[in-house]
């Protein structure tokens, strides 16, 4: 079909419309710039702060755009504390939670979408209900569980909690994804001779990849940024995650506010997330089901 329209194009008497500066276009551009500034200003502030000299940071009036740059805060960040260790801790906890969450959530979502178990509406309502509790309400109960199970200062305490907290979202998102995946594909696979496991791995999984990546990244970000549980369950210095470590950075003397190192820690802690989203953004956007059925 696209071939046909291409072939017709050269004969078309109308030239391509030129872009004109209309009032609508200008307003649209201004709105975009305003929104971007509104959203990214705090990030930009942190990034600039991390490169400012300490005098510039505390100078009054504020120096918004520094003229002198330094890497001191970053060097201090890694010299004064085992910051690499914290990055590693965060990575391990977040990756493990994400994988566990997908490994439990995706099959659960598939079962809910395809098998229509009795009372699946109630199950979904229950799952939704769990997401409504603020973390602060859960923390006391969870802390007691952690004490009883002797999980304090153990990565498992965080991994289990993060998995549990992110499961509802994973299940809800994946369920709606599976529900719109054409059932005929699975039927065709079964007629072709795939066993259930082969079908899930070779047909369903590749098609589900965009949804898995999307929910996986959401879980990863949530686990990576989580603060309260990480603060409460882990006291051992070498096991801290980035948010806790960053909050606990202290100055070189009691009277020094460590704005620079904190800003540097924030930037270091954010870079992996940005990279992750950039790497997988094509997967997130890609509509792999296009062409599966008549569209």
């Amino acid at each position: 079909m696209s071939l046909g329209s291409n072939a017709r194009q050269p004969r078309s008497p109308h030239p391509a419309p030129t872009r004109s500066l209309t009032l609508t276009n200008i307003l649209f551009g201004l709105a975009v710039v305003a929104i971007v500034i509104f959203c990214l200003a705090p990030v930009l502030w942190q990034v600039l702060t991390s490169f400012k000299l300490t005098e510039d940071i505390i100078a009054i009036p504020n120096i918004y755009f520094p003229t002198r740059f330094t890497f001191d805060h970053y060097i201090q960040l890694f010299q004064r504390q085992p910051f690499w260790r914290y990055v590693l801790n965060s990575t391990f906890v977040a990756v493990t939670s994400t994988i566990t969450c997908l490994a439990i959530g995706a099959p659960a979502a598939y079962a809910l979408a395809r098998l229509h178990p009795r009372g699946s509406h109630w199950i979904l309502a229950g799952i939704l209900l769990v997401t409504l509790f603020p973390y602060i309400l859960l923390i006391q109960g969870l802390l007691q569980i952690v004490q009883v199970l002797h999980l304090a200062n153990n990565y498992l305490a965080l991994i289990i909690t993060y998995t549990a907290i992110n499961l509802p979202l994973t299940i809800l998102v994946m369920r709606s994804f599976f529900a719109q995946l054409p059932k005929d594909l699975e039927d065709a696979a079964r007629v072709d001779g795939y066993t259930t496991v082969q079908m899930l791995i070779r047909i369903v999984l590749p098609l589900t990849l965009p949804a898995l990546v999307t929910t996986g990244i959401l879980t990863f970000i949530a686990s990576w940024n989580e603060y309260i549980f990480a603060l409460t369950f882990i006291t051992e210095d070498t096991m801290k995650t980035i948010p806790v470590a960053a909050a606990q950075i202290s100055g070189s003397s009691t009277y020094e506010a460590p704005y620079g190192p904190i800003a540097a820690a924030t930037v270091v802690g954010t870079i992996p997330l940005i990279l992750l989203v950039l790497i997988f953004q094509r997967q997130i956007i890609q509509g792999l089901t296009a062409g599966a059925v008549k569209g």
């Binding site: 079964r190 007629v191 072709d192 001779g193």
Partner: protein, 360 residues
């Protein structure tokens, strides 16, 4: 190679939802059986049970002399074309075609040879092989879907409304292609459709389904010319057959103010359902039997013919409406004399709907 047999199939989802009540069919090698019926008549469920995608509640399915009632779909050696085509969107056309063969561990050389043969039959050229289904047009996807079923060289070939997603012009062409492919295949073919033209043109046998039962299992000619009951008579044929419930007087049925002679019946009924196809209602010449006169109140131009609705006056109530298919050059007077040839009239029991006269 093999015969497909269905014995008293029943599928009960819940006590109130019984799409297939009791269906028995036999499809021989090289036969094309069409399951024809309105939506919700159970035809797709029958097909899915043959494929193994649904398990029958009661009954047996045999392919050759193997009982496959509870066999996994992959082990039945059936191939199926889905209405939505259900091509694997992440695989190329070539991989789609040979997915089933690779699972069966068919040697690569034979896969290549079979795929080449099928793409020759279907006119899928080499350039298409590396494309993904999303980059194909509707017609090409349809051919790939048929091809994926053909390469399997299965014992039974199933098609679930394979033409319903194509536009009218393409549908006619693919229908002709399918007929040739079926003729070349020496396996039982089961074809599900709600389109009577497809059923008439493609099949050697038609099973008209309604309400979970087979209403009539016959050749297309007999389905059309000798419908076993009122449902089949009304469902098959376009424009629809005239079906009129008429009171009887002795051995005559009253059509408005006119009388039609009933055939020889063991008992004379009080009421009958008279059926006659619009194309069999003809303009009358002077001394035809079963002559009626009526007032023309609607003319629909179908191109080849005019469909004319005639109001036949009735002294004992509402006028009776009869539709007649006449050539476009017929006289366009406001009143017409029509004849109903008695060998084209079908008589049905108003209660059971069954044909009163069983013709050989």
């Amino acid at each position: 190679m093999s015969t497909l047999q269905l014995r008293h199939l029943n599928k009960t989802f819940t006590p109130k939802v019984v799409p297939v009540k009791d269906v028995s069919l036999t499809v021989e090698d090289g036969e094309v059986l069409t399951l024809l019926g309105p939506s919700g008549c159970g035809k797709s469920t029958v097909l899915r049970m043959i494929a193994g995608l649904e398990t029958p509640t009661r009954g047996q399915i045999l392919i050759g002399d193997r009982d496959v009632t509870f066999t996994r779909p992959g082990d039945r050696n059936v191939a199926m074309v889905f209405q939505s085509y259900a091509l694997y969107p992440h695989l190329t056309v070539y991989e789609n075609l040979c997915a089933g063969l690779r699972l069966k561990k068919v040697p690569q050389s034979e896969i290549e040879q079979r795929v080449a043969e099928v793409s020759r039959i279907l006119g899928l050229d080499q350039g298409l092989m590396t494309r993904k289904p999303g980059q194909l047009s509707g017609g090409q996807r349809q051919r790939v879907a048929v091809g994926r079923a053909l390469v399997r060289r299965s014992d039974v070939f199933l098609l679930d409304e394979p033409l319903s997603n194509l536009d009218a012009l393409l549908r006619e062409r693919v229908r002709a292609d399918l007929k040739q492919i079926f003729a070349a295949q020496n396996t039982p073919v089961v074809y599900v459709t709600h389109d009577q033209t497809e059923a008439m043109t493609l099949s050697t046998q038609v099973a008209v389904l309604n309400n979970g039962y087979v209403q009539q299992l016959d050749t297309p000619e007999r389905i059309y010319n000798q419908p076993a009951n009122q449902f089949v008579a009304g469902f098959v044929g376009s424009p629809q057959m005239n079906l009129l419930t008429l009171p009887c007087q002795g051995n005559q049925a009253l059509l408005g103010n006119f009388k039609l002679t009933l055939p020889d019946l063991p008992t004379l009924p009080a009421q009958v359902v008279m059926g006659i196809r619009p194309e069999h209602v003809q303009l009358a010449t002077a001394n035809d039997p079963n002559l009626i006169r009526g007032e023309v109140f609607l003319v629909e131009n179908l191109g080849m013919n005019h469909l004319i609705s005639v109001k036949v006056p009735n002294a004992n109530g509402e006028p009776v409406i009869l539709r007649s298919l006449l050539p476009p050059h017929s006289p366009s007077s406001s009143e017409l004399s029509l004849t109903l040839p008695s060998n084209a009239i079908h008589w049905f029991d108003p209660q059971s709907g069954d044909a009163l006269v069983k013709r050989p």
